[in-house]
Amino acid sequence: MAALTDAGIVGADRSPTPIGSVRHRRGAAARLRRNPRLYAGALILAIICVGAIGAPLLTHYSPTGQELVNRLRPPAWNDRGSWAHVLGTDTFGRDVFSRLLFGARYSLLVACGAVIGSGIIGVVLGAIAGYAGGWAETIIMRAVDAQQALSAILLALMVAALFGNSLLNLLLVLAVTGWSTYTRILFGVVRSIRGQEYVSAAICLGARPTDIVVHHVLPNIISPVIVISTLQVGRMLLLEAGLSFLGLGVPEPLPAWGTMLSDGYRNIFTASYLTTIPGIAITITVFGVNLLGDGLRRALDPHVRGTA
């Protein structure tokens, strides 16, 4: 028994539950359970993803198939509607429900793609600015200021108008407008990590900057990156909708939600459901994303654990 206890004490001494250990993870799991927002958000997004992935099974209408005889049919709950087109049809007689399901694919892909792109740019620049300091910091952080003063939508408008609107351009535009959020937050995080004693110790032991970044900095920025990325997906969905509304989003006839909304807006007085329905879809999805992001923040950020 004594040996076991000793071994236990020695073992405990050697490993004071570092981040990523079993005990830490169990704590995180318990916090997740106490966090209803996280589950609500995940559930909403799961339903939407199932709808997007299973679109061909859930509807037999093609999202681009036109049925001009059946154009502008209102949704089923309307007197003039029918259950053949649950959410009605648009100006070209395309089934709104089908466009909504297939549109989720494009909207989510564009948003996630843009988040990944802007995340990579933003994290790298934030890490460089925070770790290297000096000239690199000055240049990068002034660029962040400039980016934030140049409202995202205006920059995106300029790029989209000059280079034309295609799916790829839209992705690039959104990525270019999203990086500064990462850089601004990670700059602070990385700089505070750089000042930690264990990093100084590693430098004294002869660790190279790349070793320090890979072994000490990266593990510590994963949580903030996950949280920012989740919330950014919502922001990108809204930005995509805004750009589409101005006519610079996912090009027709691809059924992205923003494009559907702006299309519907042209018939706002005769067929308001064409604007209302995609707007509700965007709102619910972003709501799910925001709940998930908020839940993740509460679960992963030690500063807000008490208030979860």
Binding site: R142, A143, D145, A146, Q148, A149, L150, S151, A152, I153, L154, L155, L157, M158, V159, A161, L162, F163, G234, L238, A241, G242, F245, L246, G247, L261, Y265, I268, F269, S272, T275, T276, G279, I282, T283, I284, T285, V286, F287, V289, N290, L291, D294, T307
Partner: protein, 305 residues
Amino acid sequence: MIEYILKRLVQVPITLIVITAIVFILLHLAGNLVNLLLPLDATAAQRAELTHSLHFDEPLPLQYVRFVGALAHGDFGTSLYYQRPAMAVVLDRLPASLELALAGILIAIVSGIALGILAAVREGSVSDNLISAVTVFGQSMPSFWLGIMLILLLAVTWHLLPTGGMGQPSQLIMPSITLAAFLAPQILLLTRSSMLDVLHDPYITVARSKGLPTRIVILRHALRNALNPVIASVGLQFGSLMGGAVITETVFAWPGLGQLSVAAIFSRDLPVVEASVVVLALAVLLANLAVDIINAQIDPRVRYR
């Protein structure tokens, strides 16, 4: 304090230079602007003439220096659409944008701070949870879509307000609410969390135990300290607010800078695009500067960071 203001003032022109560089590079990356500006059947001579008159035949660095030099004089060239100096066109539209932005910010600040205090004081109550839920939901809405829904409800169905335009006070209501809906949730959530931080501080307990009425403790003691992060975030959000205004102005046919820049981008009126981007960016930078100075005035710790 003066040293802090000077330090911040120096950053404004630096950031502006970065912005003009971004705008300049974007415009030149876009390929041959002369082809964009002239009709497809323009002759080679016409192309050469326009290339020369726009100085596009000079080396890029020289063009940039010329561009920045002209900017310093507020000269963005002549609008291709209005045939007037681009800066004058932009300045004509500025008051309308400022009016809308100020109305939106005012509504957002008043409602955001008031509801944020209410939620924080009644932490955990039904009203707190309701306010938080509505707020997160409000943040999830595309703000221009909210504007469209307002038009459908208040203008089309109930005939209470005009659908758009500018001139009468009633025409300001829907656009400013739409703009405020974008900013208010963030102000609210931040007020709530920073009030919660402050309300648990010992000095609040002291104030309460002195027998001060709750109203005074909250408004005079707690709020003053809780507002710093809120003010800072309003400054940071000003840029996105101007972006939000671009779409809001389009929805409500509000004749401001946002609507002008969208129209200019579509008609490839580059001098107006440049002028409005730079003026909007300058407005954001000045707003940030003002917020920083107010913050440094309220909280001396900021000056020494």
